[in-house]
């Protein structure tokens, strides 16, 4: 019989049960040691030192960095530890912009909470006011370096979970900062605006770019008919803002709350999720039956952070992205095109608000592709947190609100539309639709095997499955985070795996784990929200998007055939390449001389990997050999946003793609030398 291994914590014997560090063990014992930099899903950093404990024979250590050993005797509350913690807080506060009352994070700030918990009433080290500029460059996020406590949570979530690494530490000692490369703003670098950095930030250093004021203005404008759409993930999370358990499903409360703050009509994004499924399934079956694998696997395109990621990092897969707009933008499209007519409202007086669990949806709504005549299809995007703020601002008692139904015609949806909020949900919805469309015989009773696809459920990073649909083997992968998406792409590229359809959601858990959701949003919370959405789905009479009678009616009335011309013009879009970082080119000549022929060779990632440096050298050689150095302004540049044709060369303003080493002589003779001889 094995003896239970234990650690003594404040005199209490606590069994070791696979805890990865002493901090987890202490917390299991019911002692909530404070931390700023510890997140169970990120690597251990050990920077904030708030979780210090005293261990016999070891002294004072940060408990997050210590493995629990049998027989350890640990104290968590001594006078010395108390002084250390309080001093750390005072030092952090001295370097922190303490204008709490006007801070977006007021009331939800970890630093504020711990300062209160430890009774810090005086900061002995004064107040530093660095006055660093605040970055409001993106529609999604606001970065205020004056509030950063250098815990590195954002650096690790961006680097470890999303595997992008937009943010990192820079400089050292008292000059240390966290931010994008070269102190650039977020809009000028490869940030996909998923906002996971904001969701782990303990202070107000990275927050959500608020659209609350714009929405109030529209609500209070008597001319405006304000219509809202509500994403699936909101209904299982908004309650958390008002003291309910995660996963408390309350769609009727969300509708009632929006109505009570003055929104005229409330629709369901699940309805346009159904529409997306119908279009996306048709697109998928078309690609699958085309006989060519050129545009397979089909990638989902509902997640705007993922779309931006493909545009920046994997432009060779742009054609694989489903051309279907996301449910948010499908709603925007049908609302702007048809809803005004239905309601008898001038299109310009229709104000379309989205309630989304997501910060990247703000970026998506602002994309040029989704505007007509300069007016975006979706006027403003509120996150779950912002909606909660508006409800609180009115003073309405959320719990006393009666429940209310979604409005017609965009208020009825199926279970397939609801599970869009979960990782694996879009794949499952498409599988349900494909199973229906390919089924040899239609039955009134739908077999469970055509409705529930357990293979794609769960919170694993990469989920793979082969599903038999009416005799067709469909190979699919579901990526749960951008880091997981990078792994799926690696498997495709190495030939390790072949897929027909790939679903990617950038945030862990899918939209239910979006950065606009209430805090905290850790694994346990995400599990509960996920289950709640599956429960909501199970309760639906209709669980397949094709069965949605209002979707059918929309096609009959306005959109014509599924995948047809009218549907295409309203519901589909295309995406382009996008450079990762704004900046200078590598010049070889300092003076700007008129009359020089401008020749730029792209050395951005795609072109570089396709051998553009060899092209550059080849051109340098030829230019020098022919004595044209003073007539050609040759330089290396970063990204013409033509990555799908890499490597690219720009000569006198026109770009030539797919240049190979064999082409250099021709390019030089015909396009450079010939022009100069003229």
């Amino acid at each position: 019989m094995s003896v239970q291994q234990t650690v003594v914590i404040d005199g209490l014997s606590v069994p070791i049960e696979g805890e990865r560090n002493l901090l987890e063990l202490v917390r299991k014992a019911g002692i909530d040691l404070p931390t700023f930099c510890y997140h169970s899903e990120l690597s251990v950093y050990g920077a904030c030192r708030m979780c210090v404990v005293e261990i016999d024979k070891m002294g004072i250590v940060a408990s997050c960095t210590v493995q629990p050993q049998p027989g350890m005797v640990v104290r968590t509350n001594t006078e010395q530890l108390r002084v250390i913690r309080r001093t750390i807080l005072e030092l952090l506060l001295a370097n922190h912009d303490r204008d709490c009352t006007t801070c977006d994070k007021n009331g939800a700030c970890k630093l504020q909470e711990l300062a209160r918990r430890f009774g810090v009433q005086d900061v002995r080290f004064g107040q530093e006011d660095a006055g660093l500029p605040i970055d409001r460059s993106t529609p999604a996020l606001v970065r205020d370096p004056n509030k950063c406590i250098l815990c590195g949570d954002c650096v690790r979530v961006c680097g470890e979970v999303q595997k992008i690494g937009v943010l990192d530490f820079a400089y050292r000692g008292s000059d240390a900062t966290v931010g994008p490369a070269f102190g650039k703003c977020l809009a000028d670098v490869d940030c996909v605006q998923c906002g996971q950095c904001a969701s782990v930030c303990p202070t107000g250093a990275i927050t959500i770019h608020s659209d609350v004021d714009r929405v109030w203005k529209a609500i209070h404008d008597p001319k405006m008919k304000v219509v809202a759409q509500v994403a699936p993930a909101i209904r299982v999370a908004l309650g958390e803002e008002f003291g309910h358990e995660p996963g408390w499903a309350a769609p009727g409360k969300v509708v009632a709350a929006l109505k009570s703050i003055g929104v005229d009509m409330v629709f369901d994004t699940c309805f346009t999720a159904d529409l997306t499924v119908v279009e996306e399934t048709a697109e998928f079956l078309e690609r699958l039956s085309s006989g060519s694998r050129e545009r397979l696997p089909q990638f989902t395109s509902c997640c705007p952070a993922w779309v931006k990621y493909v545009e920046q990092y994997h432009p060779n897969y742009l054609a694989n992205l489903s051309s279907c707009k996301s449910p948010q933008q499908m709603f925007g499209a049908v609302a702007r095109r048809f809803l005004g007519r239905e309601l008898g409202v001038e299109p310009e007086n229709l104000y379309v608000v989205s309630v989304m669990p997501c910060t990247a949806k703000k970026f998506e709504a602002a994309r040029e592709e989704f505007a007509s005549d300069g007016r975006p299809d979706v006027d403003a995007v509120l996150t779950t947190q912002e909606l909660a703020r508006m409800i609180r601002e009115t003073g309405i008692d959320f719990d006393k609100l009666p429940i209310a139904p979604f409005d017609l015609p965009f208020g009825v949806s199926t279970g397939a539309g609801m599970i869009f909020g979960n990782s694996g949900g879009v794949a499952e919805a498409v599988l349900r639709a494909a199973a229906e469309l390919l089924a040899p015989e239609k039955t009134s009773e739908i077999p469970r095997s055509r409705l529930v696809f357990e293979e794609v459920r769960g919170l694993d990073g990469v989920k793979e499955a082969t599903v038999n649909i009416a005799g067709n083997e469909v190979r699919l992968a579901v990526a749960n985070s951008l880091g997981a998406a990078a792994e799926v792409l690696r498997r495709i590229e190495s030939g390790e795996a072949v897929y027909d359809i790939v679903e990617v959601m950038s945030c862990p858990g899918g939209c239910i784990g979006g950065a606009g959701q209430p805090s905290p949003s850790h694994l346990e919370v995400r599990k509960q929200r996920t289950q709640a959405l599956y429960d909501v789905d199970t309760m639906q009479m209709l669980r397949r998007s094709h069965d949605n009678p209002y979707v059918k009616a929309l096609y009959d009335r306005y959109l014509g055939d599924v995948g047809g011309k009218k549907a295409h013009s309203a519901l589909h879009t295309s995406y382009g390449t996008r450079r990762r970082i704004a900046g200078e080119e590598i010049k070889f000549s300092s003076e700007e001389v008129d009359g020089k022929l401008d020749v730029g060779v792209c050395v951005g990632t795609c072109c570089y990997l396709h051998g553009s440096y060899d092209l550059l050298r080849g051109l340098m050689d030829r230019v020098a050999r022919h004595g044209l150095t003073d007539r050609v302004d040759l330089h290396a540049t970063f990204c013409f946003e033509q990555c799908e044709h890499s490597p690219n060369i720009e000569i006198g303003g026109s770009i030539r793609g797919n240049v190979t080493e064999e082409d250099i002589d021709e390019v030089f003779e015909k396009e450079i030398r010939a022009r100069l001889v003229e």
Binding site: G159, A181, V189, I586, V603, A636
Partner: protein, 165 residues
Amino acid sequence: MTPVEAAQRKFERVNEIIEEHGREQSALIPILQEVQAEYRYLPEEILTYIATAMGLSVATVFGVATFYAQFSLSPKGKYVVRVCDGTACHVRHSMRVYEAIRSKLNLRDGRFTTPDMMFTVETVACLGACGVAPAMVINDEVYGKMTPEAACAIIDTLLNRDGEN
């Protein structure tokens, strides 16, 4: 070599340096050191290029380049003058030497490099030459037992030498 050829040669060197060291993350610091030796600083576009070539995030490369005092992201002068302000030099009035050089070269406010890109004047925490405090080093040459007058005379010598060339 024309300036254009020299600039192209430098960029070719960057590529050679990366090839020599390989693309493992651990090669980043030696690569940055050698690239800085070519350019006398680390230009932003070259750092972006190095990140691209090594498959690293640009923010990470920027983080490393700003962490170490040996790297500079702004162009330095032909002569880099480092006046030691370690304890031994400090108590022997190294700051008077530093201020004398700065005022001679007309460096005010936040400027450390002369507009003609001839001189960069900085302080350094310790050169390990405490026996000859106060010390300063210009490029690779150490000068000991400095006074404001002696330091200015050395700067004059360098100015004259360059004037003759």
